[in-house]
Symmetry: C2
């Protein structure tokens, strides 16, 4: 290995790389999410990061969005996945014969988007998705099951959320009732960005589409409604009577009943008609969760109901409902705002420092203590003083110095590095003491 | 969404994609490995899947091996990582100032090699690496720490291994002692493939290099030695006296002592001088673990000591020692040989089936039972008979059918689907019964 020409070590911009003490916390969050999904009866799926371009780009008719990382290998055109939904669609279409429906799967994995790097946006980020996919039909109770899961998963993360729920049939029906059915998509796009552009601009854009004053008012009033299910439903129940609108009302009523039966905390969700969600594949229930103490975080979890998951790959109709948490972004926000729990320098419970020729005894002691503790021997060649300094810097909670005396007597002195207190005992007594103190 | 032209759903060849009931087992193995690494005081690292080509290909001077997936995005040449060692080198070189050494990290992640797909070889596979990296120096006890970790990690997986340990200085020294120092690499390559090509071919190739009869014999005899440390060391201790050889002997003696102190089961490792490991960056201890009941699996874990991890990126000398488990391949072998533990169709403990208009009651019951159990309500629209058939097919262990009577009385009947036995009780009694039966 020649060092003549060193290459400056650096990583690609827009890629998160945590120091190990933060990575532990990230991994713990992943574990909690995973456990919650599993306990709710969702099974894991782990599709490849790479897919055939033809498959991944079916939606756009094969044209490659500039966000998507893609390349050729031999004659094969390959893409990196940019979400976990398209791979799910491909998987259920491929394996429909061998799956039981409703099929409940979760996938926690990284996805890739080569978009312009900016603060809070990552090119590689972890999505934590859970979906319920039906065959032919899927009752509305599945939507409530996902909403219940959103509640559980954020409880497991110890984050208080407000899940804002709506149903796209309400707006579809309202727009239809007002006589603008052919302009539904354009109107929804304007209403979806209401918060960003403000009321006046929204009205202007709606008018430009041909919506008259009175109807502008109606649209904006309706999408401003939020509160508990009964309250909001009582306000809108009779404002429209086409089938689409009535379907929306009916579905929301059902969702409300089911969330009650699941005993979901009423402070953690509401009915909020401003929730639209941009993607036009949503067809019923939609939701976006925020952290009310930090509204500036924006949506930390979103999802909804779609009619036909795998229509590009199969004639089988597969309606579904799902949720997605963008964990990389959420973690970054929590980190920036000092909201991460249990940030420690190290996961070591106790470090053993040999003094003189006692290494073998230290290894035996480590082996004994590591039954229940995270333990290491500091075999570094630096001086004793340097080792103590290092242990302090790393905030190692306990140390044991092992010299000849300790080897001969079998009695060790444990030192609490934060308050200097000591405890003397044989290895069993030390283990007992530490398991009581640290676990 | 138009279904006019369906795209046949398929994945890239050479990519593992497990059905969810197998994925659960894979994930459990990952969890066990992770827990073992963490308990041994290793901290997690998660480097990006993508790296700058200049960084990843430093070793080959920038030339791109055809195995490596690479592409350009704008002006940037990007590669997918093909192992976890080069990213580790980049990371420690970048962050040396902020790390404590010896730096113990593990990384469990997928790596990518676009090689020709063949049975048992995957283009995307999960590596489970653990390394200890020193600054300037790293004592031999670190090698023993890794060997101890290999033992622990396979115990956690309930797999009985034999870890075959050697030290490259033994062979370096022997070859030097026989007068072939300038041909060390060629000779090691031949000896490394001894098992594959057989004795006669090995001798022929050695002779072609200019090794005489007697020395061929010596080389082959020595690399055939295996057994417990004391036995093998006593056989070779005096066959050579150059510094390299003596260093090898000394290091092996130390490793033997440390493994003793760690109380590693002597049936799980030996000293085996046939272990060379192809990669020429190993400079001391090397090891390869096999599963003795299935030698045809080959090496399930390998690793060793290297002198200078990050020499392409920094002038800092960083010796290290590490181990790597190729989990995708190991899992595939275990699966093919029916050696996976706890293969189940589903993770559901109990399924609740509504009969008539009892869905809300079922959801409350689910909510109660899911405190401690994995529970689901079967809200599918199929007939009761079809639901029972499906529950049987999915091997769901328990079901509860909830009709009007159950709602009114609050007493449910739990049915064990494997033996037909029933248990009657209110929801608390059901939960008690099930937690005793299934957990």
């Amino acid at each position: 290995m020649t060092n003549n020409k060193l290459i400056t070590p650096r990583k690609l911009s827009g890629f998160m790389e945590l120091m190990p003490n933060k990575q532990i916390i990230f991994d713990n969050m992943v574990d909690k999410i995973k456990k919650t999904y599993l306990s709710a009866g969702f099974m894991p799926l782990d599709t490849p990061v790479l897919e055939l371009s033809e498959i991944l780009l079916a939606k756009s008719g094969g044209s490659i969005d500039k966000e998507v990382y893609h390349f050729n290998k031999g004659d094969t055109s390959i893409c990196m996945r940019y979400d976990l939904t398209v791979p799910l669609a491909r998987f259920v279409a491929m394996n429909a014969e061998n799956l039981s429906f409703p099929f409940k799967r979760f996938q926690i994995g990284k996805v890739y988007r080569g978009e312009r790097a900016q603060k809070g946006r990552f090119r590689e980020f972890m999505q934590c998705d859970a979906d319920i996919v039906g065959l032919e039909d899927l009752p509305v109770v599945a939507d409530a099951e996902c909403l219940n899961l959103v509640d559980k998963v954020f409880k497991s993360l110890n984050l208080k959320i407000l899940n804002r729920i709506s149903n796209r049939n309400i707006l579809f029906g309202l727009v239809e009732g007002l006589g603008y059915k052919d302009k539904t998509e354009e109107i929804l796009i304007i209403l979806d960005k209401f918060d960003k552009i403000g009321k006046d601009n929204a009205i202007e854009e709606l008018k430009y589409l041909g919506v008259d004053d009175e109807n502008c008012q109606k649209l904006i009033e309706t999408t401003s409604l939020k509160g508990d299910f009964d309250f909001v439903l009582s306000k809108i129940e009779n404002i429209c009577d086409n089938e689409t609108f009535k379907k929306g009302i009916q579905e929301l009523k059902e969702v409300g009943l089911y969330l009650n039966a699941f005993n979901v905390d009423k402070n953690c969700y509401n009915l909020d008609l401003s929730i639209i969600r941009g993607q036009n594949y949503y067809t019923g229930t939609v939701f976006e969760a925020i952290i009310p103490s930090h509204p500036e975080f924006g949506t930390v979890c979103g999802g909804g109901r779609y009619d036909n998951l795998a229509g590009y790959y199969t004639d089988k109709k597969m309606p579904g409902v799902g949720l997605s948490i963008g964990l990389t972004r959420l973690f970054d926000l929590l980190d920036q705002n000092n909201m991460l729990e249990n940030v420690k320098q190290t996961n070591i419970d106790v470090q053993i420092i040999p003094l003189g020729d006692t290494l073998l005894n230290c290894l035996s002691l480590e082996n004994f203590l590591s039954q229940k503790l995270v333990c290491e021997v500091n075999y570094d060649s630096r001086s004793f003083k340097a080792k103590m300094r290092e242990a302090n810097k790393r905030q190692i909670p306990y140390i044991i110095v092992v010299g000849e005396n300790e080897v001969n007597s079998g009695v060790y002195q444990l030192k609490n590095m934060s308050n200097g207190e000591t405890f003397n005992g044989n290895k069993e007594e030390i283990l007992n003491f530490l398991t009581k103190s640290t676990l």
